[in-house]
Symmetry: D2
Amino acid sequence: MGQITRFGISMDSKLLERFDEYIEAHSYANRSEAVRDLVRDRLVQDEWRHEDTETVGTITLIYDHHQRDLTEKLTEHQHQDHNAILSTMHLHLDHHHCLEVLAVKGKVKTVKKIADRLLSIKGVKHGKLVMTSTGKNL
Amino acid sequence: MGQITRFGISMDSKLLERFDEYIEAHSYANRSEAVRDLVRDRLVQDEWRHEDTETVGTITLIYDHHQRDLTEKLTEHQHQDHNAILSTMHLHLDHHHCLEVLAVKGKVKTVKKIADRLLSIKGVKHGKLVMTSTGKNL
Amino acid sequence: MGQITRFGISMDSKLLERFDEYIEAHSYANRSEAVRDLVRDRLVQDEWRHEDTETVGTITLIYDHHQRDLTEKLTEHQHQDHNAILSTMHLHLDHHHCLEVLAVKGKVKTVKKIADRLLSIKGVKHGKLVMTSTGKNL
Amino acid sequence: MGQITRFGISMDSKLLERFDEYIEAHSYANRSEAVRDLVRDRLVQDEWRHEDTETVGTITLIYDHHQRDLTEKLTEHQHQDHNAILSTMHLHLDHHHCLEVLAVKGKVKTVKKIADRLLSIKGVKHGKLVMTSTGKNL
């Protein structure tokens, strides 16, 4: 955390009333924290429009480990991209299904490419890429 | 526009710097207007989580009017829901393709149902529902 | 509509059962139409990742026409981009609020820029860009 | 994997050509796998519209661990929901920033509530909920 600036916002009272209800429903400590969250969320969305930005993402996969060769393929693909894949979390959801989450760091286009490649493997039943951020300047 | 309230927001200077760049890139007049936009956008998203809220949406359809019976089906479906469909705009994109936009007013669940029904008709090549708002209290 | 190709899909029976329920709930005529819709929707999403593709979008705006100078600003902005803006639909939602939908044709980056510019105008309470398509090759 | 059913899909040849390009660009083994992915993705989206469905989600958080009391608050919140939180992965992105991913299992409304609560804590700079699935019947 660096230096803090304080500035004023003017808002229609009815709109502010509804925003205050939202703030309470989502357990924000105060208006500043809620506004900062909206701002950061929008900046992160914007960041991902530029293919060469250095960023961080997480890839969530649901797969059936009984699918032949799947574990080998997943491992092989991940080793190809070992520079970008920071860490992996693995959970056994039931007798068949695994949840795997990968934390990935790299350029926007690299992170998207890795996600595309993993999501298309046979046996991967569902997958999503979360586009987040390195946290710097946020 | 009713009464205006003014309140203070504190923000890390680096974050504010990036937000100011965003404000300039998107041609906002000032920080207040940009913050109000973020707040309203979030409130509208929230509104659409409740199936019984009265709201407004627009449905965008791309279709090939040479598809047999399509125009009849679209007209028939729209008459079924004539209470909710406020207006329609129609454009001829090329020899084959039409763009049609419907403005719809009603409960969230009604608007979604109408969109589902129109998007599934054969010949409708693409369609999207925009969930917006009546504008009240925004 | 050009030539039709027929091809086979293999699917786990339980997954197919759930898909058939989805097809019925959304009133699709058959599996082919539902699959084509999923495919077209994905291709349109993909299309919008390339800034130079020629495409079609619709911009939905909710605004308060009592806001000073707003109508003038909206008109002025739209005339700047008159080459890209094909048509406009306007509705009076209540004493204060208007719904305006613009059909826009041009490169992805142009359509996005027009949307950004209109959404940031003071008095525009909510707005959304729908990224659709010219319909060609869909 | 249970019993497999095979069924036919008819598609305009031009559309199929573009789909085949998509399939190659995303490294799918064949059309069946690509169609199954589209179907599963849509069914998961649909599942999350029902608040009482049992499901699985992952919550990605970026936070600054130097923020006073943040680690304590995060731990405390997570213990409140220890029944639903299956596992956590933690990474040190730089001197300040942590990436934390939580795997959560429970009803749609519970998973959303947990995400809302964590994302609103001061010091959490960015967060996203991925709505995925238990994998059953997918």
